[in-house]
């Protein structure tokens, strides 16, 4: 097998895995999407208000919090996985909930992992909006919350960038989901906690490089589709 046959075989395999509706591959895609999607939503719900607070409001400790946010953006995913493991193990503080090696644990770990990234990028985007606009809105009679909303609208593009990079980091991450998810596949060949990235590790470990690369192509396609959809939606006419 020459080197280019390897690549063509992988591409062919990626499409045949998708077209034949292989339950293993599709359930793995489903777990990846569900875990990273929910982690993204939970993270946005916390990160965007927090970013607004850091961007618009002056309070003691703000500089420290900003430093922590930027530092957290470089946090390795295995460490996040390890910390969540220590929290959720039966011997840990939340052991009684029996959450280790479940999808919930994976969602928690990925939420924590992408929280600083979402906050940091959103914060920069919000700061780039001219504060005079907020003051203008205020002088026109807008209440403070309404004022924040007006400024958030103007930061929309930056918030979309935050969302996409957060999703990208979550779905491509392998260290945390491997540790807290346990990489479990049920014997009906249905993924319980295996994601595309951990599946790639398993295939590589077994020397099945073609399948591993095929799964990598599927992951690439998935992220591509999500980005296309999000960017298209973000570019829609802003008012009727």
């Amino acid at each position: 097998m020459t080197w280019w046959q390897f690549w063509t075989e992988s591409i062919g395999q990626a499409f045949s895995l998708l077209i034949t509706f292989d339950t293993y591959v599709w359930s793995t895609i489903g777990v990846s999407l569900k875990v990273s999607g929910l982690a993204l939503i939970f993270s946005i719900l916390i990160a965007f208000p927090f970013a607004a607070l850091l961007a618009y409001k002056k309070f003691p400790g703000r500089e420290f919090l900003r430093l922590m946010v930027y530092t957290g953006m470089g946090f390795p995913s295995v460490i996040v996985g390890l910390i969540v493991l220590l929290l959720l193990t039966q011997r840990g503080p939340f052991g009684e909930f029996q959450l280790l090696f479940t999808q919930e644990a994976m969602i928690l770990a990925q939420s924590i992992l992408i929280l600083p990234l979402l906050t940091g990028v959103a914060m920069s985007a919000m700061e780039a909006v001219d504060p005079l606009i907020g003051e203008a809105a205020s002088s026109l009679g807008a209440k403070p919350l309404r004022q924040v909303w007006v400024m958030t609208e103007l930061a929309k593009r930056g918030l979309i960038t935050a969302t996409l990079s957060g999703f990208g980091r979550a779905i491509s991450e392998v260290g945390a989901v491997m540790i807290v998810g346990g990489n479990i596949v049920l014997s009906q060949d249905i993924s319980l906690t295996r994601t595309l990235t951990t599946a790639i590790i398993v295939e590589t470990r077994q020397g099945k490089f073609e399948t591993a690369l095929a799964l990598g192509l599927i992951l690439f396609l998935l992220v591509l589709i999500v980005n296309l959809v999000v960017l298209r939606l973000g570019r829609m006419p802003s008012s009727a």
């Binding site: 599709w26 999407l33 929910l38 029996q98 958030t152 609208e153 346990g182 008012s239």
Partner: protein, 296 residues
């Protein structure tokens, strides 16, 4: 139409992921089986043996096996923390320590296979004519030939350490590379580097076509050095330590693995027509050493 589309696409996204997942998951959630979390090693999972055995157990006991494929050290630690119900591992001294510490009970022998020493065909340390693994290790150290070590406290790594100890060598120097990877990756790495390594036979058989390596020291399955024997044991997590674990189901699993049916399935298991595991749970004259730590 409102301006910000963020809520819209997050909802679409959420729905898509959920739909895909529930689509694939409906068949599972309808049955409501009991869950057995099995912490085991990459060699049993990657060979495909447990994919053969577990469905039979699941059918019999209306159970669902959640398999964690870790190294032996990590599997025992996971069980010690109470995050698994039962372990299937292969490092007798680590198993004994686990039992002596009170975390595991009711150990049974399940099966064995063996380790082999593999290396590049030009064999720079000239070990291929040797019978003894420890003598081979001595020559590798003397010639400072590259040796790739798992370095992850797995059963294979612990066996490697036993062989070094038998040879009275403390492997140090830039010829002994500790890679901290699973067996598959370690073999692939050895092949790329032209290095020696120690492997379980199962992973070797599954991967050998992709490797530029040869078997240089045989294990006891092929009449080689007895030190390379690789016995697997199954141990239940002690419910006195972890009352939340499903001890009953763990014992059912031990009962199943050591039953005539499962033992036969283990013996019948083949990769490329080669037997991989040799069942040894059942014997008319049982081996009492399987029940107690060997130090006693």
């Amino acid at each position: 139409m409102r301006k910000t589309m963020l809520p819209v696409f997050t909802v679409i996204f959420f729905a898509l992921g959920w739909a895909l997942f529930s689509l694939s998951n409906t068949t599972v959630s309808q049955i409501q089986p009991r869950t057995l979390t099995l912490a085991t090693t990459t060699s049993t999972v990657d060979s495909g043996l447990l994919d053969r055995l577990n469905p039979v157990f699941e059918e019999k006991f209306n159970a669902q096996v959640h398999m964690l494929s870790l190294g032996t050290g990590a599997a025992l630690r996971t069980a010690e923390n109470g995050d698994a119900d039962v372990v299937l591992v292969h490092a007798r001294s680590a198993e004994d320590a686990f039992i002596e510490a009170g975390f595991g009970i009711n150990r049974r022998d399940v099966m064995f296979n063996d380790f082999i020493v593999v290396g590049p065909s030009n064999d720079p340390a000239n070990i291929h004519n040797l019978e003894s693994a420890s003598e081979a290790f001595t020559r590798i150290a003397q010639t400072q030939s590259l040796f790739v070590s798992r370095g992850d406290q797995s059963g294979t790594h612990q066996k490697e350490q036993v062989v070094w100890a038998t040879a009275n060598i403390n492997p140090q120097g830039n010829w002994h590379l500790s890679v901290g990877q699973g067996m598959g990756n370690t073999l692939l790495q050895s092949s790329e580097l032209g290095a020696y390594t120690i492997s379980d036979r199962g992973t070797w058989l599954a991967l050998k076509d992709r490797l530029n390596l040869e078997v240089l020291i045989e294990g006891p399955v092929k009449g080689g050095d007895l030190i390379l024997l690789n016995p697997y044991g199954v141990i239940a997590v002690n419910p006195a330590h972890h009352s939340d674990r499903d001890y009953e189901l763990a014992m059912a699993y031990i009962g199943f693995l050591t039953s005539i049916e499962a033992q036969q399935m283990i013996d019948d298991f083949r990769i490329d027509d080669e037997p991989l595991f040799f069942a040894d749970a059942l014997n008319e004259q049982p081996n009492f050493e399987q029940y107690v730590p060997q130090s006693r």
